[in-house]
């Protein structure tokens, strides 16, 4: 079956992932899934000024998901909405178990995500960007978190629901996945499907996550190894020496 935009059922839209795109943030990343564009920046771990929010055992994670006013056809009213508050919460909970928060008691790690352009699956793009940005900031993590949506149109399971498909799909099911621990850390669903189909859709989404996971690793490698190699080349050398001279 060909999809509305010509993709194969298990094909993700063109993916662009780039780490370290901002200078001031400790870590950052931009992720594009088709036209959907998310940019994430990480600050911290740093001091949490409000005492009553502190946790003496671990750092707290703050995630802000925000749609930029010009990101959709109809202008989005700036500021938090019910939708963005909920998405911020589920993204935070998807990332929490991957980060070694216990290493920074009383501190805060902040993840700021802006959706620059929205065309379906913004939370998924946001989550992928946040995960790269956290690793880019040198924050200790047990795993990267990857995220992808899947759905079902008529008899076909489709990966990365986008554009007009959103109106005809039987369900829209975003999943975040930690590939190493094989754990699903974000799971939402809008739709109406029998249990059997839901299971198949989740499994397809996990497959999508695994594809995106490789791309996330590649994005980080491109930035860090690429940077080192470029500097080395400029100096007429070819070797990276790691910690030792």
């Amino acid at each position: 079956m060909k999809r509305l935009d010509g993709r194969k059922p298990d094909e993700i839209r063109p993916i662009v992932m780039q780490a370290g795109v901002l200078k001031r943030a400790k870590g950052s990343a931009i992720v594009k899934l088709g036209r959907t564009t998310a940019i994430a920046g990480v600050y911290g771990p740093r001091k949490l000024h409000s005492k009553h929010q502190q946790d003496s055992n671990k750092a707290i994670l703050k995630v802000t998901y925000n749609m930029v006013p010009f990101s959709t056809d109809e202008r989005v009213r700036p500021g938090p909405s019910r939708r963005s508050t909920e998405i911020s919460k589920v993204i935070r909970e998807a990332l929490e178990s991957a980060i070694c928060l216990e290493e920074f008691p009383k501190a805060v790690i902040e993840v700021q995500i802006d959706i620059l352009q929205a065309e379906a699956s913004t939370r998924v793009a946001a989550l992928n960007a946040a995960s790269i940005a956290l690793a880019d900031a040198g924050i200790p993590m047990k795993d990267l978190v990857s995220s992808c949506t899947a759905g079902k149109i008529e008899d076909t399971y489709i990966l990365d629901v986008a554009g007009k498909e959103e109106d005809v799909t039987f369900c829209d099911l975003p999943v975040a996945y930690m590939p190493r621990e094989k754990k699903i850390t974000l799971l939402q669903m809008d739709g109406d499907l029998p249990v059997k189909d839901v299971k198949n859709v989740i499994q397809l989404a996990i497959k999508g996550c695994e594809t995106l996971y490789e791309r996330q690793k590649q994005a980080l490698k491109e930035k860090w190894v690429g940077d080192l190699e470029d500097t080395a080349k400029a100096l007429g050398l070819s070797n990276i020496s790691g910690g030792k001279d």
Binding site: E86, I184, L187, D192, V195
Partner: protein, 255 residues
């Protein structure tokens, strides 16, 4: 309170529960239908010590431009400070928003309300169904109690009289809100490697992850939401789906 947490985790790890329920057993559910007169529909649901009051208010509004011939559904939730020392007055918190949106999604995606039947004049006047959830006592598992309350309140909601382009408050007609199915959610939490349905507040406080599954009468899933920092494996989810559908059927009988 503080010392009990570790104890709770310890017994949860052995697969037992403090109130000696089975892992897939709900607490006692009491549904009081139409306890209030002012709202068009209402219900008080108690699951164990949790108490949620749902009220349905109807009003006539202009339809949304992208759905000219459909009524409007709105779900709101308030975590009243009398329900828990942790709740405060003020703008809705993250938890309240999530609660309302999960219930909203369950009802909306199950197409339980035939919104087209709520149209009075296409493009001009439609009924707007406002479901407000008021949490009175937090004993855990607010989502299931809220969804149960919302469905129960919708089931007995009657349209008010509508005359000469105006709603006549206080005079209810015999026309019911067109409900085609009874959507419900079932919540499971994960403590250690064990899964428990219908968690109490204490169990929720030590749980590492939580998942709410919205189901319909035909056993289909219509909404899902994962909460909490930890994740679930696919095998765990398979088990949860099966249990949720089964528990959903049991709950539906009580409506």
């Amino acid at each position: 309170m503080i010392l009990r947490n570790q104890y709770l985790v310890d017994i949860a790890l052995t697969g037992k529960r403090l109130d000696e329920r089975k892992a897939d057993e709900f607490r006692k559910i009491i549904i009081e239908k139409s306890p209030l007169e002012k709202p068009e529909g209402s219900a008080l649901v108690k699951i164990g010590t949790t108490q949620v009051m749902a009220g349905v208010k109807l009003d006539v509004k202009e339809p949304f431009p992208d759905a000219q011939n459909e009524g409007i559904l709105m779900v709101g939730a308030e975590l009243s400070p009398l329900a828990s020392p942790e709740f405060e007055r003020g703008p809705p918190t993250e938890d309240a928003i999530e609660l309302a949106r999960v219930v909203d999604r369950t009802i909306r995606e199950s197409h339980a309300i035939d919104l087209e039947k709520l149209c009075i004049t296409e493009g001009e006047k439609v009924w707007m169904v406002n479901v407000d959830l008021h949490i009175l006592d937090n004993g855990g598992n607010l989502v299931d109690a809220s969804c149960l309350a919302a469905t129960a309140a919708l089931m007995n909601a009657k349209l008010p009289k509508y005359e000469d382009g105006k709603v006549v408050w206080g005079e209810k007609t015999n026309k019911k809100v067109p409900l085609v199915c009874k959507p419900l959610t079932v919540t499971h939490v994960k403590i250690g490697q064990n899964l428990f349905a219908d968690p109490t507040e204490d169990e929720e406080s030590v749980a590492t992850a939580k998942v709410m599954i919205g189901t319909k009468d035909d056993g289909n899933i219509c909404a899902m939401q994962k909460g909490g920092g930890d994740g679930f494996t696919f095998q765990e989810l398979e088990k949860i789906f099966e249990k949720s559908v089964e528990l959903g059927k049991q709950l539906r009988k009580q409506l």
